[in-house]
Symmetry: C2
Subunit: 130 residues, 2 copies
């Protein structure tokens, strides 16, 4: 088992997540870090944070990938079974922790992970578009 270290870059990335109300892409994180570290380092930090269950990855229909902090109380194993909303107008992605889909699977499938992303207009953009 590898031990994990708290580096300046990792701490900075975590701060960026703390400050953000929405999910962030690799590029958005890099901009906020202002060249504090190499972009490869950010990828590696994101990988580590996912393994540590501190953040989770959200993949959108348009191909963009974002990351968000996990809000659940820190359990060893868990499924990120909540929905994510992706606004087609402002392109912000937010966790909807209260929205959990219910569904019935055929037997003989083993489900390890679910990705439930809804897209459309977020409350902000819905209002300003009237």
């Amino acid at each position: 088992m590898k031990t994990t270290r708290n580096t300046a870059a990792k701490t900075a990335v975590l701060e960026v997540f703390e400050k953000s109300k929405t999910a962030l892409s690799h590029t958005e994180i890099q901009k906020q870090l202002n060249d504090l570290c190499d972009r490869v380092t950010i990828y590696r930090i994101l990988d580590r944070l996912i393994n540590e269950d501190v953040i989770h990855k959200i993949s959108n229909l348009d191909g963009t990938v974002k990351y968000a902090k996990c809000n659940h109380s820190h359990q060893r194993v868990h499924i990120h079974n909540h929905a994510h909303f992706s606004c087609e107008n402002c392109h912000e992605i937010t966790c909807l922790e209260t929205v959990k889909p219910s569904y019935i699977m055929p037997h003989n499938y083993k489900v390890n992970e679910i990705n439930f992303t809804l897209s459309g207009l977020c409350p902000n953009c819905l209002n300003s578009n009237i």
Copy 2:
């Protein structure tokens, strides 16, 4: 309104979809077409087929993007509200047309599209892994 044409390449792509039980990536389609046309052309055909509601796009947690034929009776506007299953072992992606998630959204969101992808082990891989 642009008119759409039936070209050799488009017909060939459609045949590939007909023959396939699972969703296909751009690369998989290209291999099956055996250099019948340029890879850019395939991207453009896929775009057109999506606009015509003949196929739909499936984006997976691992970042891969696949496409599958729409099975619904051809309606003007529709939401692809069924689930997709992505096998972590064989990497096949299949439409689960019978699995439709139910969920309750907060008001003041407008949902246009949903992307519900489950990953884990498909029946084939589950059996061979015992």
